[in-house]
Amino acid sequence: MALELLLRGGTVVDGTGSRRADVLVADGVVVAVGEGVEAPGSARVLDAGGCVVAPGLVDLHTHLRQPGREEAETVESGSRAAALGGYTAVVAMPNTEPAIDSAATVREVLDLGAGACCEVRVAGAITKGRRGEELAPIGEMAALGVRIFTDDGSGVQDARLMRRALEYASGLGVLLAQHCEDDELAEGGHMHEGDWSSRLGIPGIPTEAESMMVARDVSLAQLTGAPVHFLHLSTAMAIAMVRAAKAAKLAVTAEAAPHHFTLTDELVASYDPVFKVNPPLRPQSDVDAVRAALADGTVDAIATDHAPHAQEAKELPFDQAPPGMLGLETALALARTELDLPIERLLALLSWQPARIAGLSGQHGGPIAEGAPANLTVIDPDAVWVVEPDRLASRSRNTPYGGRKLTGRVRHTLLRGEPVVIDAEAQR
């Protein structure tokens, strides 16, 4: 029997605009959109009153930690967190143990994702073992549907190797994404280098460690004609370079993480490693630049950089603790609460623009119309809630937002027509 489901009473918002409409879903696809859609008696009705019905969110930057770090997160727990955050697709980063640098590991993660609460796509490594020395089998991984390649966690330091990777990838129609950090300049740093690092006696990572690599890769985009995606940009200087590159019609895209438009380096004064992240939290002037770049289109996507870590890892001394913060369950609400942008713009940054970058437009982020895949999320834009770390679905608790009051919450999420989240509760 076909699973039929009616989202009733909401406002549909997608890349074509917004309108009051009910949405009827059957067999994993949207079958009717309009006011007062008649549902068969057998259909399940989910209340969307006062809510926005939108294409599911797409995260370009998720660390699911599997294989290798299952105590911090699994594909199952991470995808549940994603669904609760409104995501219907995530791109799993390849800095696992072992790295996702072969067809076999890609297959392993895709298999784990088969029964997950959201679609799990994989980013492959650019180089073997993410060591920055030899190209990984990009073509073999691309044949399995991998569309984004990155050594995330590290940048590809060698300009010649990066050039070759860009040229090679362009022949396969896949995208390279860069973790922008010059290793030698950043060496030994654990927070943003500036007023606070100087005062706190913590070795710093200068702004220029990010912008130098952005400058190099803008140059390589020019040289090769290949597209480049910049991961988690955090500084005004790097953003200005991307803005200039876009004005010059280079094929560059960029993302920013919620913590880089909500938190500043001053928080490190607590010496709580929950505030350690890479790129590090920056001063207010950089936070303002990230916000401006999200507003003016320089940055194309909000990406979570969801990076779970076990409790014991985040209780190490600050300079020994691993960088990273949870993000999937708070990204939408942080954007809604902190960014002064209309919901249509927020959804562009969270859904259809990242879907396009990830090569997922056919399945995720597309207009909600008859025949479209029913990957949808229903958002109560005015719901106020408090982040309680112990109630998160992630296996880890390293959110820097514990106790914070946020506006905007996911009510329901549909994956291929199946309600994986109902009334903010995961269904599997």
Partner: protein, 307 residues
């Protein structure tokens, strides 16, 4: 005061109180039997993750002179080598019933973390490049002992400020007590930003020395020349060392200070360290009295200070 993590925790009034109390403990230390029963029944544990014989001995001596029980948790002989976390170590020690934990760690901020995990009073005995508040207090006391007050004194702190917890605590303490602080170092050994620091900056020691009331030399670590911070220690000594020739620029009553251990011949010439105006051993002696004052303030119940 619950913990002593930063000089900022004390504020100017707190520093004054510690220094006043230190005076009576200097007197106690001069007695034939330098011991008072002020902290009888209290337990002070030193938890040192980094070798520092002098600071550890100073704290232990201070605790013993107050008749506190002392425990020494030294990392080389402990469960830390078996992979125990700082948190578990602190929980274990606290479970034995301790009143104060004196922490030294190579990572900035560890005393803040320890303070979140225990009800005992936590004293920062040096955290990475960050702070070393009891060193700053003993330095303040030593200067006051010779000069009466820090108000209006010109203090030059010379050397590796960037990596120095002593410098960070002393900049705060000296300026709170009214001194004018000048940092003297090559730019590579300065913190990347001095925004908000109540200091002047110079790269010319010869220009600073004649006007200084106190010259405070920082320890120069040998590894700095391998980190491209300096061409060589020889060049450092030539430009920033308090050499015999340079010591002639000092005023007659200019104090020469050093937190120890000294690299004689690098940041300070041997003969200069032995000048009458060098109060380096006096700093060590006062260190015990200052730490007695701190322990007494944090753990004492206004008990008997008499013999």
């Amino acid at each position: 005061m619950r913990h002593l993590l930063s000089i900022a925790d004390l504020g100017t009034d707190g520093i004054e109180e510690v220094l006043r109390l230190t005076e009576s403990f200097v007197e106690v230390s001069a007695r034939a039997i330098p011991r008072v029963p002020a902290l009888r029944g209290k337990t002070v544990v030193s938890l040192f993750y980094e070798d520092s014989t002098r600071t550890r001995l100073s704290f232990e001596t201070a605790a013993k002179r107050l008749t506190a029980d002392t425990m020494n948790f030294s990392v080389s002989s402990s469960s830390v080598n078996k992979g125990e976390s700082v948190r578990d170590t602190v929980t274990t020690i606290a479970a034995m019933g301790v009143d104060a934990i004196v922490v030294r760690h190579a990572s900035a901020g560890v005393p803040w973390q320890v303070a979140r995990w225990t009800d005992a009073a936590v004293i920062n005995a040096g955290d990475g490049w960050h702070e070393h508040p009891t060193q700053a207090l003993l330095d303040c006391y030593t200067i006051r002992e010779r000069r009466g007050s820090l108000g209006g004194l010109r203090v030059a702190i010379v050397g590796d400020v960037k990596h120095s917890r002593v410098a960070r605590s002393n900049v705060l303490a000296f300026s709170m007590l009214g001194a004018e602080v000048t940092l003297v170092a090559p730019p590579t050994l300065m913190p990347p930003s001095l925004a908000g620091w109540p200091v002047a900056v110079s790269h010319d020691l010869d220009e600073v020395l004649p006007k200084a009331d106190v010259v405070y030399l920082l320890r120069m670590q040998r590894e700095r020349q391998t980190e491209a911070l300096l061409p060589s220690l020889r060049e450092y000594t030539a430009l920033y060392g308090l050499t015999r020739d340079r010591a002639r620029l000092l005023g007659d009553d200019t104090l020469v200070m050093h937190p120890g251990p000294m690299n004689r011949g690098v940041e300070i010439a041997a003969e200069v360290a032995d000048l009458p105006s060098a109060v380096i051993t006096r700093q060590v002696a006062n260190g015990v009295a200052v730490r007695m004052a701190i322990l007494f303030l944090m753990l004492g119940s206004g008990g008997d200070l008499g013999a």
